[in-house]
Chain length 327, copies 2
Amino acid sequence: MAVRVGIFGYGNLGRGVELAVKASPDMELVGVFTRRDPASVQTVSGAAVYPENALQEMTGDIDVLVLCGGSATDLPVQGPKYAALYNIVDSFDTHAHIPDHFADVDKAASEGGKLGIISCGWDPGMFSLARIYAEAILPGCATYTFWGRGVSQGHSDAIRRIAGVKDARQYTVPVPEAMEEVRAGKNPSLTTRQKHTRVCYVVAEEGADLERINREIVTMPDYFADYDTTVHFISLEELHEQHSGLPHGGSVISCGTTGRDGENSHVVEYRLDLDSNPEFTGSILAACARAVARMAAEGRTGCMTLFDVPPAYLSPQSGEELRAHLL
Amino acid sequence: MAVRVGIFGYGNLGRGVELAVKASPDMELVGVFTRRDPASVQTVSGAAVYPENALQEMTGDIDVLVLCGGSATDLPVQGPKYAALYNIVDSFDTHAHIPDHFADVDKAASEGGKLGIISCGWDPGMFSLARIYAEAILPGCATYTFWGRGVSQGHSDAIRRIAGVKDARQYTVPVPEAMEEVRAGKNPSLTTRQKHTRVCYVVAEEGADLERINREIVTMPDYFADYDTTVHFISLEELHEQHSGLPHGGSVISCGTTGRDGENSHVVEYRLDLDSNPEFTGSILAACARAVARMAAEGRTGCMTLFDVPPAYLSPQSGEELRAHLL
C-alpha cells in the first residue's frame, strides 16, 4: 500500500519533495498545504492545494506530513503542532537548536502516539551520517566538513537586506589547499577563514554607493567578517542568466589512525555535488517519509533523527532484494 | 558495563579487531580463540589465547564473538555453529553467497536466542551503506564501485599458486579516466577492463621461466584474463621493503537526477583511503560488536546486516551527545 504523503509549505523545498514523491512508485501525494490563498498556488504536478486549516480534518487521509517551512520561525512552531496529529518529517537545520526542537517534537509526538524524524537534509542529515559512521569506526578521528561550492540562501538574504541592494547571490567556496591537506591526513588546525571563502554577486540599485555596500558586506559580523569575501557587482540580467540555480554540496572528511602506535592512517570522505540543493533535500525528506511510515506502523512513537533509522527503512526494496543487490 | 568481546581466528583481521577493541574504552577483550596450539600464538596486546573448544564453555563470559576466519570455508561453518551459542559478528564477503550465509546464521541465531550481524567490512559493509543511502534518495541512480589502489589478497594468493612463484603481491588499480567520467555524471557503460587494471609484483624462483609465469598470470580466467594486467618481476628484498603493507580503499559513486525532466544531476561519492585493510575492517567489526551487544540486550535475535542497524548503535556516545555534536 502506497505511503500517503502531505506537504506543508510550498516553496523550493516543497516542490523538491513533490518531485521526489512523484518519482517514487510506492508513494502517493495527497496534497500540498499552504498558509497562502490556495487559489494562488499552482503545483508542479497538478497536486491538490489546501489551506493550512484543512490539516485539522485530514488526519485519516495522510500517513506522513512533510514540513517544508524554514528553521528560524516556522519549524519550531509547526514541528510540535503537527507532530501531535501526524507522523512528520522535517529538515530543521539550525544546529545549535536541534536538542530543543528534538525535545519539543518528542513530547508532542509521544503524547499523540505519532512519530517524527527531524533534521533530514544533507547537513544535518547525510553529512551527519558520514560523521557518525566514521567516528564509530575510528574513535578519536578528526572530522572536517567543507561546504560548497554552492549557494547559501541565508547569506544571499543577508546581502539583500543592505540598503541599495536589489538582488544578490552568495556562493560558499571551500579552500582547495585546505581540503587537500585534510585528504592527505595532515590533521591541520584550520580557522574559519582558512576553510572557506565567500563570493558574492550583487545587483545594486541605480546610483547606489557601491563602496559602502561592499564594506557593509565584508564587515558583516557572523556572516562575512570572519571570511575572505569577494564582491562582484553585476546586472540583473547576468544574475538571472548565470546565477539562477541553487547548486550546493561539500565533503565530510574524517582522518583517523589504527595500529599499535597509530602508525596506519585512514581517510574517509563523503562528498556531494548537487545541481539543486532543494530537490536533493526534498528527495531525502521523501525517503525519510517512507521510513517514518514503516516505523510508525510498527508502533514506534516520539522523535528520531537519521541516527536512529535502520538504512533499510529508507529503501523501497525488501531485505532480500537489498542483500542480494546492494550489499 | 563494558562489552565483553571474544575473537575467533587470529590472522591479520583478528589482530585488527584486537587493536580496535583495545582502542575502545567501552569494550573489553576476553581473549583470542584459535585452532592452532594456543602456546604458539602471541597476541599483540598480551590478550589470553584459548583453544577453539574452550568456546563451548565460555558462553557466560562473552557478550559478542567476532569471527575472523575466511569467507571461503571458515565462516560458512563457523557462522551458524557459533551463532547458536553467541551473539556474533563477521565480515563474510563472498557477495554471491550472502543470502545463503544470512539464512544459515539467521536460523541458528533465532533458535539459540542470539543475534548476528554478517558482512561487516567495508565492501560488503560501508560501501553497501553508501549504495543503499544513495539509491534510497535518488531512485534509479547509477551506482559505480571502484576498488583500489590496494592489495587484493585473493589475487596475490592466486599468483603464488603458479609453479615457479616464490611470493607475489597484486594491486587492484582503478582507471582514473573512468572515475572522472563517472564523477562528471556521464553515466558511462564500462566493461570490467575499463574500470580497473591489475599490477603484479612477483618474486620468481631461481631459474624459473618468467615468460611462462607472466602468461599464466595474464591469461588466468576470472582473476586476470578480463583485465589489463602488468607483471613486474622483483627480488624478495624489494617485495618486503616496498610491498609489505596491506593498503586498500576505493570509491562508491552514485549519479542520479531530479526535476520535472531529470534536468538536475547529483553526484554522491563515498571514498576510503586505507593504510591497512585488515585494521580498518577490524575497526568496523568492533563497532558492529558494540551494536550487536546493545540490540541483543533489547531482545533482538536472528541475523542482520548493517542495513538493519540504526547508526547510533555503532557509536559509544549517547543519543543526546550525538545530536548535540555530530548531527
